[in-house]
């Protein structure tokens, strides 16, 4: 009986160690850029959370809007208070699926992620081309996409319309580690 149990353990455990069920990124980085002739605005968030479930290729991302750091301190205040209204909508989230993702492939792969991005209380379907790297036993997901300010019902006063781009470029990079439940 004991031998049988050990056998079962051997059958289950190594496979779980080689391919963890889930991986998590606790210090994911998201940066966004707005380029206009008047002003360039850049912000960074280094505390973005993300998780991938290998069993079904699903991915989720969650970030706090007030964790974005801006070049100018006052911009952060304006961003939270007047634009994304982070008191009402503190988080932005993404939930989607990595299409044709093979966690066993230990090399760089380019995949499409399909999902919904929710910010300022508005959800938009996104299709993001993503680079998935396998480095030192850990996965790294990076890429970029563009978001229209208008799509998320973020109001820009006419006087400042020249300072803020209509299309914001978003870069992301997540380094994952095995997730222990």
């Amino acid at each position: 009986m004991n031998r049988f149990l050990i056998l079962v353990c051997f059958m289950l455990c190594p496979s779980q160690q080689l391919v963890a069920q889930k991986v998590i990124a606790r210090q994911g980085r998201i940066a966004f850029f707005s380029y206009t002739p008047v002003e360039n605005i850049k912000a960074e968030n280094n505390q973005v959370l993300s998780i991938i479930d290998f069993s079904n290729g699903r991915i989720a991302v969650s970030m706090l809007m007030n964790a974005f750091i801006f070049e100018k301190a006052l911009m952060r205040e304006h961003f939270n208070e007047s634009y994304v209204e982070s008191d009402l909508y503190p988080k932005a989230t993404f939930e989607g699926e990595i299409l044709d993702f093979d966690p066993l492939l230990k090399e760089q792969q380019t995949r499409i992620i399909n999902g919904n991005f929710t910010m300022h209380g508005v959800s938009q379907a996104l299709e993001i081309k993503t680079k998935i790297d396998y480095k030192d036993g850990n996965y790294e997901v990076s890429g970029s996409f563009e978001a229209m300010v208008n799509d998320y019902e973020i109001k820009i006063p006419p006087l400042l319309a020249g300072n803020i781009a209509k299309v914001i470029t978003v870069d992301f990079r997540f380094e994952y580690e095995p997730y222990q439940e």
């Binding site: 969650s62 301190a73 006052l74 205040e77 304006h78 007047s82 989230t93």
Partner: protein
């Protein structure tokens, strides 16, 4: 059932339990993984002044604020040929944030030749959670020098007699996303004695608030209740209503007030007219703050 079979069932059950656990909502897991962080109330007021008086706000480290405040009013003369307004007083100031908590400023006022300097220290920040203080507290200390000619020929004109001090504890609460209220217990020591009045120490309580009208515009009002006004000359509590408007790095304040002074001791203890719409009681106030960042937070 044999013990072996029992164990197989157990192993299968454990395995299934593991799988069902992984089917849990991914965003839910991320919520649980997020480290607990104390969230502070941001932007109780946007400007460092509510109208004429200081608000709890201090600027972030490395910000220089060029602050120009103007007051326009008319003389009581029935006829006047002045363009726009009979009288104008302007306070030019440079205000710099040495740290996120400590701000300092230097200014000069044209009308009464008052030069002032202040230190402002952010003691507590209001937090949203159960921990931390429910109000923001900022300490304010200023000193001003009255540079105009002779004060009173009857009294000795010493340097110390031209210096005034104001100490304030600014206590504010962001009640909700639109409404912020502030109480300001104030102590003024007035060095300048125009009429040789014996009591130069005054206590006052400032009450102010803002209500957001839009994402960039807010309605503001302020009043200072002077508890022991000087017997002569008669003074009144300074009152104001106005709007504050932010446009990126520029912040504008428009107000109607009875206070000519733009420095604490001047408006708290030296407002000679009550608030009404007649001349010279009514002052139109217009403040411009231009913000320059000397510290860049991101490195490329």
């Amino acid at each position: 059932m044999s013990p072996i079979k029992n164990n197989i069932v157990l192993v299968i059950l454990l395995f299934l339990a593991g799988i069902s656990g992984s089917a849990q909502d991914l965003l839910q897991i991320l919520e649980e993984e997020r480290p607990e962080q104390l969230q502070y109330a941001e932007a109780t007021f946007k400007t460092t002044r509510i109208t004429f008086g200081h608000s709890v706000e201090t600027r972030k480290k490395g910000i220089l604020e060029i602050f120009v405040a103007n007051r326009f009013w008319d003389s009581p003369a029935p006829r006047s040929q002045s363009f726009f307004a009979d009288r104008l007083s302007t306070r030019f100031a440079m205000e710099y944030a040495a740290t996120d908590r400590l701000s300092t400023g230097l200014g000069g006022t044209t009308w009464d030749g008052l030069f002032d300097g202040f230190l402002k220290y952010r003691l507590f920040r209001q937090s949203d959670g159960k921990e931390g203080p429910p109000v923001s507290v900022t300490l304010f200390q200023n000193a001003s020098y009255y540079s105009k000619g002779e004060i009173n020929p009857a009294i000795e004109d010493a340097f110390a007699d031209r210096i005034s001090f104001t100490t304030q504890a600014l206590i504010a609460s962001k009640v909700n996303r639109n409404l912020s209220l502030q109480l300001a217990p104030t102590f003024v020591h007035k060095g300048v004695s125009y009429y040789g009045e014996p009591n130069n120490d005054h206590f006052a309580l400032g009450i102010g608030g803002r209500y957001k009208l839009g994402s960039h515009l807010s309605f503001v009002s302020e009043y200072y209740w002077l508890l022991n006004p000087a017997e002569a000359p008669q003074t009144f509590g300074p009152f104001s209503v106005g709007v504050n408007w932010e446009i990126g790095d520029v912040m504008l304040q428009f107000m109607l007030t009875n206070a000519v002074g733009m420095v604490e001791e001047a408006f708290v203890t030296g407002t000679r007219n009550n608030f009404n719409f007649r001349s010279p009681n009514l002052n139109f106030g217009f403040n411009v703050a231009y913000i320059i960042h000397f510290k860049r937070n991101l490195r490329n």
